[in-house]
Symmetry: C2
Subunit: 168 residues, 2 copies
DNA sequence: TATTGTTATACTCTATAACTATA
DNA sequence: TATAGTTATAGAGTATAACAATA
C-alpha cells in the first residue's frame, strides 16, 4: 500500500503525468471550442449543462457551486455573466429566502443544444477514439473510484464553505 | 442524465466526466500545496522540475514551452518570475543567438527538493492510494495512448507557433 | 450564530499583436 | 522570410474579506 520509498515508481508517475497532460489538452481543446462556438467558458457551460439536466431546469446556487467552482464569489461572477446574457434567471427560493434558485432560460437551453454536438465531437475525437470499449469502461470505473476517494478525502485545507466539499 | 449527450454512451460520458473532475480536484490540491509550501504555481513547478531533470539543468525556452504552456508570452512571464527569484538564469544560447538557454540555479534545485516530498505525498494520497497496482498500470497505459493520440491529432486551431505542438 | 449569496478589491494569469534580433 | 523571444496591453477569472439578509 503505502510505498515507504519517498517517491513514486515509474508506473505511478506515468499515470500521474499522463492524467495531467491528457486533461490539460482536453480541457484546452474543449474550452476553445466552447468559446468559439458559443462564447462560453468551461465553467459557464458546466453551469448550463447541469441546469439543463436538473428537474425543472433549476438548482440553488449552492448546489451549482458544488463541483463546478472553488469559491462562492466565482460562481456569482459566472452566473452574473450568464444572467446578463439571458441564459439563466435568478430568484430567491420560496423555501429558504436566503437561497437563490437559478433557472435555465429557453435561450440557455438553445445555446446548450447548439454547442453540445461540437463539444461531444471534440471529446470523442480526442478522448474516446483512441480507446477500445474495454478501455473506456476500465477508465470510467477506475477514475470513478478515484473521484469518490477524492471527495471523501478532501485536501486538508479545503475551505469549510467553498464548493467541492461534497464529502460532508 | 435524462437524455445522454448525442453520440456518447453512458460509459463514455462517465469516463469523460470522471477524468475532468479527478484532474480538476488533483490540480487544485497540488496547486494549493505548491503555493503554500514553495510559493510556486503549477506551471512554475513544472518548469523547475523539467530543468532539474534535463542534462546540465538547462533547456531552451522553446523546449520548455512545449507541453507546459499554451503561449510564448506566458512562458516568458513565468520565467521572468522565476528569474526574479533567483531560481533560474537565462542567457542567449551560444549555438543559436536567437535562443535563450534557461538554467536552474542551486536555489531552484533546492526549492524543488523542498517541495517535492509534499507534492508526491498529495499525489499518492489522492490519486494513487485508491487504486490497485493493476489499476495504476492500466491507467498509465490507456492514458499514455490517449496522450499520444492527442499529440498526433492536435485541435484544428492549434497555433503554429504556440506550445503543445509536439506532433511534428 | 450559522448559512446563503453578493460585492469590492486586488491580484494572477493568459493571449494577442507589435517588436527586436538572429538564421 | 522564418524562427526565438520579449514587451505592452488588455481582458478573463479567481480569491479574500467585508457585507446584508435569512434561518
Amino acid at each position: 500500500m503505502s510505498d515507504p520509498a519517498p517517491g513514486l515508481n515509474s508506473a505511478q508517475l506515468g499515470a500521474y503525468f499522463a492524467l495531467m497532460e491528457v486533461s490539460s489538452l482536453l480541457q484546452y481543446a474543449v474550452d476553445e471550442h466552447l468559446r468559439a462556438d458559443g462564447d462560453l467558458s468551461w465553467v459557464q457551460f458546466q453551469i448550463l449543462a447541469r441546469l439543463t439536466d436538473a428537474p425543472g431546469g433549476r438548482l440553488r446556487m449552492t448546489d451549482l457551486a458544488d463541483g463546478v467552482v472553488y469559491s462562492r464569489s466565482g460562481l456569482t461572477y459566472q452566473a452574473g455573466l450568464l444572467d446578463k446574457r439571458g441564459l439563466i434567471t435568478r430568484a430567491p427560493s420560496p423555501d429558504d429566502e436566503r437561497s437563490v434558485m437559478v433557472t435555465v432560460t429557453d435561450a440557455g437551453r438553445a445555446l446548450v443544444g447548439q454547442v453540445l454536438p461540437g463539444h461531444v465531437d471534440r471529446v470523442r475525437q480526442l478522448l474516446i477514439e483512441p480507446m477500445t470499449g474495454t478501455d473506456v469502461a476500465a477508465l470510467s470505473a477506475v477514475l470513478g473510484r478515484v473521484r469518490d476517494h477524492m471527495r471523501a478525502n478532501p485536501p486538508r485545507s479545503a475551505k469549510p464553505r467553498a464548493g467541492r466539499n461534497r464529502a460532508g
